[in-house]
Point group: C2
Chain length 572, copies 2
Amino acid sequence: MICIALAQINPVVGDIRGNTARIISYINRASSKKADIVVFPELVLTGYPPEDLLNTPSFIDSNLKALDKIRHHTKNITAIIGLVDRGQNGALYNSAALLSNKKTLGVYHKMHLPNYGVFDEKRYFTPGNVCKTFKVNKTIVGVNICEDIWVERGPINKQVGKNGAEIVINISSSPFHAGKYFERYEILSRRAMENRVYLIYVNLIGGQDELVFDGRSMVFNPDGELIAQAKGFAEDLLVVNIPQKIQDTGYPPDGRAGKIQDIEYTEEIYRALKLGLKDYIRKNGFKKVLIGLSGGIDSALTALIAVDALGKENVLGLYLPSEFSSQLSKQCTLNLAHNLGVRLLIIPIKDIYQRYLKSLGLSGKITLTHENLQARIRGTILMALSNKTGAIVLTTGNKSEMSTGYATLYGDMAGGFALLKDVPKTMVYQLSSYGNDLFYRKSGKYPIPMEIITRPPTAELKPNQKDSDTLPEYNVLDPILQAYIEENRSKGEIVQLTGAAAAPPKRDKLRPACPDECRELFRGASLKEVERIIRMVDRSEYKRRQSPPGVKITPRAFGKDRRFPITAAYNY
Amino acid sequence: MICIALAQINPVVGDIRGNTARIISYINRASSKKADIVVFPELVLTGYPPEDLLNTPSFIDSNLKALDKIRHHTKNITAIIGLVDRGQNGALYNSAALLSNKKTLGVYHKMHLPNYGVFDEKRYFTPGNVCKTFKVNKTIVGVNICEDIWVERGPINKQVGKNGAEIVINISSSPFHAGKYFERYEILSRRAMENRVYLIYVNLIGGQDELVFDGRSMVFNPDGELIAQAKGFAEDLLVVNIPQKIQDTGYPPDGRAGKIQDIEYTEEIYRALKLGLKDYIRKNGFKKVLIGLSGGIDSALTALIAVDALGKENVLGLYLPSEFSSQLSKQCTLNLAHNLGVRLLIIPIKDIYQRYLKSLGLSGKITLTHENLQARIRGTILMALSNKTGAIVLTTGNKSEMSTGYATLYGDMAGGFALLKDVPKTMVYQLSSYGNDLFYRKSGKYPIPMEIITRPPTAELKPNQKDSDTLPEYNVLDPILQAYIEENRSKGEIVQLTGAAAAPPKRDKLRPACPDECRELFRGASLKEVERIIRMVDRSEYKRRQSPPGVKITPRAFGKDRRFPITAAYNY
């Protein structure tokens, strides 16, 4: 019997000193729980992903020195630590070091380096080529890293088949997207079963720029059954004894052992957004946020999540009405701020707007110039208050807008963090309902007023404007955007896929790429409409390049995940 | 004897139809010059780099269909075309196809894929593993692609040593940075000599987002001597007969055959900026540009290059004075606009500024909030005029400012293209002198007034402000930034390198990383000063993420070339 502690912690990228202290404190906690082995996530020492920090030799030195320090804290315990190792000719390896009784038992080098999606590991690392196993208290343990377990016939096969590993430990920093948990569960369960081995999977948690790591570290028995799982979206120290059958364990408490411990789709997105926001603010040394509240649903949801993540005392709302703002918007904003308990500042922009029109010699007839001007005045006011207060501005645009360019650069796009950047509008509605229910359970009231949810979306930059003047209805738009941006489909395929006659594509219930409600309402789109939308997406790349970061929640977010040229004359 | 035409052309990324037409017209031109082989650059059919367009299957299909079309235009000539080939299981190859007499002779797959700096080729491509040679008119020809020729013991060794190639052709899309030509020259000359073979190097030309390809395709004889070179920064069709000794050829006309055909350091940077700007404007469907002129040197140089690249009728200057703008700035701006012959619009921002102060309840005392406000009013006015006229705004900030964050987001950073983004301030001065001389030779007058060059840099956002209130002198700052950003040096190394007592580091004359003048003036910096600058660089990453693209001219530009986390707590 061997006792293993899964130390699912939240490091800060680059903060090697702070991460080292945190690791040592978790080693001590694991020791006090009589663990034989304590396991930390991939690259826990540097934080993940360190990106081009890895090109600085002194950064690598620091992380190696930190390992030396940690080693002195491993009396009577074996610690497995993710770090960067340096080999011949300065080659770098994404590595797992085994420290035991103040000695280094060995170092494993990641063999399979992901270089797709958000990953750039071949930019930095050399792949390892040795499938090591190690003996800990008479148990043979195989260690490998993240991608290694995803590939068919990877290191685990040799570690078990040839070297006789009884337990295989995979340390990971696996970024979240909605439904990703299920993919992990499936692959890990299969690998445990294929190899008839105990499989320990330790994942990172925390937010880092556009990525969120959701934790949910897992332990599988040789039958491929889940026997323990750590928390989602929070630090955890999960201690398990091995060997162990499902009936031996009290975990998880609700008796669903052996089954998927997935979180409901909307809930996991909500929690990812909350953690991503909280960590971006905290890790960058901010405390307070400013949000421009418009009376619309995007800013309402942004404010709700900000209050949940940071506390209402750290959220300041700004209502910046123009002559086109309706009474309804004002009332909605006042109610929202009241319900959330956040301070609200009201600054009308009419006088400034008129001054600009005069200086620019613009007539009263509303053009795109006039619309953008209003948005940019608001952006300037928000940024001035940011300068004055030290609070960071959250922008409120969603993925449907970011995709089509339905947003004003330096206007509503001005700010430090774009919380909903990767959230399609249809999902904004689902999240708002979810958030309302969540607050209702705590306070007995719904913070987002019903009018905000039911009113037709509008930018209110000219009289009687509606989003649907420019864009298709969002339940038509979002599936097209998903097919184009996330699934790389051509316009022909999209029309077929979304034809009025065609049924919504079947998807695994556990990972609906587009919310069911949206698929159900979907009425299809013509070739012309699809072409128009694709053109909007392609032509807005220059705007997205200048947008603030936001939390990745879909399989393909903008940014590192989708690297498109601005200058691109391809006609789909 | 064989006649080879080097078709150094300027494709548009994604414009497969347009690129195909251009390729066919160059094949016809080469035929009319009796060429046996016509060679095009790497990925000429898709443009380089196509980035995530490569993830769309229909994009790959289009490029393969285009090759079919081109094949029908190869009667009595062999054409070598860079394209994306598709293999088993959808694997993609960066390829060179040999078409001859309407047939495909063969396809070579690039073996060495760069995945550093600006390159992401392992994200898309599978490496090839066959070192093919081909017989064209009884001559054995080896073909390989870009990086293949840079590695030691690469495909060329086998193509010559084992397969007996008499001519080796390398097709490239090699991005420009100052001094890169010399690196290429050196490596190509060595490879020709090592293998005792004729080496034909065909490089792309044109601007693509942040990259410029400078052309200067070259031909070396088996003694490693340069026997012909195509134009720099322009399309060209260079026809050479092989075998050929240096004395056989009339090229180059100035009799410097066999020697480096390098362009003077400042001149090549100037030409890269001009081409990068011209192509960004043209390829994105713009014609006219707007520039905020401040009376300072950055905006003056930006305007000068814009006039040279686009014509004075396509440049509109805006002078947007505040109460802190000096009479000197106004006079400098008026003179500059007059000298360049560009239209100038003057819009004072005082009234708008006062309106903001009132609405925001800000007092008269000048703080950072006030400074940024002025910059953002200017950004808003420029963008309003951009909306109104359809012209794109050029921002004028330089690399020294981008590095240290000495710039206002949504203020002076607002615009579509940041021409000088990668140009250190010390180089801005050199380029201004160069540009002035260039115009003088054409028109007999210096467009940038001497006062602009000699006055101390100032943002004029409060009374008597100078850049040196916040930043070290630029001749101190720039070498530190170079050591940190381009050379990844730690603070300790930088202090040593730049210590007052230390001599300026020796560099190859042909590629001075920091202009000589700047090194000569350099007086060193203290540890404290170096630390302060590094902190400024690290803390400004969030600004750079929201900056417009600009032309890469140094070995490491911001953007794809330097991928730093925003959230990064590393303390150097």
